[in-house]
Amino acid sequence: MKKEIIQILKRPFGQELIKHRQGHDGKQLDYVPVQHYVDRLHEAFDHDWSFELTRREIIGDQILVEVKLTAAGLIKTGIGGAAITRGEDNKTVLSLADDIKMAEADAMKRACRLLGIGGELYATEQDDGDIISNPPPANGNHRQDGPHSQPPSPLPPRERLTNAQLNAIKAIARKQNLDPANVRRQIKKDYGVEVEYLTKRQASEVITELDGNKPTNGNGTNGNRAWAG
């Protein structure tokens, strides 16, 4: 890849492009909207790049997507996810399309990251590329505006993984013929806790990692992590 292109890709985003949102745990997160990643791709490759959605799956309450980004002869894959947002009754799905878009944007950003875009965000990553800018208010009250807003709560949101995430981890492991004991052991090794005590974010990581695991000859290894023990 030409040096000029690499410079364009690695150029940090300007402060004016950074937006803010509330994280699941009430912390304020900074992020750069996916459109700016797209703009950067246009600039670097003069619009000569392509993006393909290679997979979309809903597991429990999680949407998982995989995208393939092709540019200058390189192919980069990104996996992203988002939780399905439900109403106050915990049943009504508020906007599945928005949740899917969020998962796709997440995957796209991850693929872009492999080309060098937004690397400065991930260098201090706290939430998949988002930066924690401010601690939550001391009284624990957090208000999110917009269609996904929740009523104010006197207590901070729970951080423990959801039942859907726990089920998804077990279901993916089963689907890939992985020994549940080995999966449990690996999670304990990686995170220092039993699978039931992962945080939501850690559980998402495990789901993404397990999902990217391509079992070959039934040994369940992906080169990075030996889920098969």
Binding site: L161, G192, E194, E196, Y197
Partner: protein
């Protein structure tokens, strides 16, 4: 009906977990969060489980035949559980009383008390999983309350949930009044279709002359709210990583003593 182990596959909380946290948050962390292997299995725990199995075998037979079986039914279950404990990978706590002898004595005492008039048994070791709600926000918790009712019987029109205990001595009135397990069973009884259940403790005391003490008790809405508040409080404390040690005389018999540094 799903088995207890199947119900435990989902995100859950048990009365035993809550009691462990209330007694010592560090022990909760060791046992459940870190999944640390205990140094030994406490003898009291093994004895309690073995007696429970003996009682369950008796009540299952009563449920099928409406008559008391011979003592051997319960004693065989007691023996099998104790033998299994000896083969466990985690060793049995050393020293102490002869568990087979103590357990046999307790079961014989139980038989003497109930043999002539067996109850109308509705369920034995019945697994349950019920939804829990945060009493402050009203939100449904991700964790379901999972456990098993020792015994449910019918007396007239009312169902009674019976909890068996083995104890060094008779339970005090305070213990009976504030035990959260009974509050949980009141909640569960209503949710699994047993209606407004009565609550009974059958305590087998490991005194020189074993005895069976039967205590009837009640729980109201406030007790249920208190139970919910305790469960939610424990879960939130666990979320927040609050795992301080509680140093008491109990530390000497704790199976995580070395790892805890107590």
């Amino acid at each position: 009906m799903a088995s207890l182990s199947e119900l435990r596959e989902g995100l859950h909380v048990s009365v035993s977990q809550v009691k462990t946290y209330v007694r010592c948050p560090r022990q909760y962390q060791m046992r459940y969060v870190l999944g640390a292997e205990p140094e030994f299995v406490p003898r009291n725990l093994v004895l309690g489980s073995a007696v429970h199995e003996g009682l369950a075998a008796y009540y299952r037979s009563v449920m099928e035949t409406s008559e008391s079986p011979e003592q051997d039914v319960g004693l065989a279950a007691l023996h099998a559980t104790l033998e299994a404990a000896k083969k466990n990978r985690v060793p049995l706590e050393r020293g102490g009383e002869d568990l087979e002898a103590v357990g046999t004595g307790l079961l014989r005492t139980f038989y003497e008390a109930v043999y002539q008039e067996p109850p109308v048994v509705v369920a034995v070791e019945a697994p349950f999983a019920v939804e829990l709600h945060d009493p402050v926000t009203g939100e449904t918790l991700e964790e379901r309350l999972v456990g098993a009712l020792d015994l449910a019987i019918r007396e007239g029109e009312k169902h009674i949930v019976v909890e068996h205990k083995t104890a060094a001595k008779k339970w005090s009135a305070d213990q009976i009044q504030h035990d959260i397990q009974l509050s949980a069973y009141k909640l569960v009884g209503g949710k699994i279709g047993l209606g407004d259940v009565g609550l009974r403790l059958q305590v087998l005391t490991k005194t020189k002359k074993p005895a069976m003490v039967v205590e009837n008790t009640e729980r109201g809405d406030k007790d249920i709210q208190d139970f919910m508040a305790t469960v939610v409080g424990v879960l939130r404390a666990v979320d927040a990583g609050v795992f301080y040690p509680v140093r008491t005389s109990m530390c000497g018999g704790c199976a995580f003593k070395k790892a805890c540094g107590g």
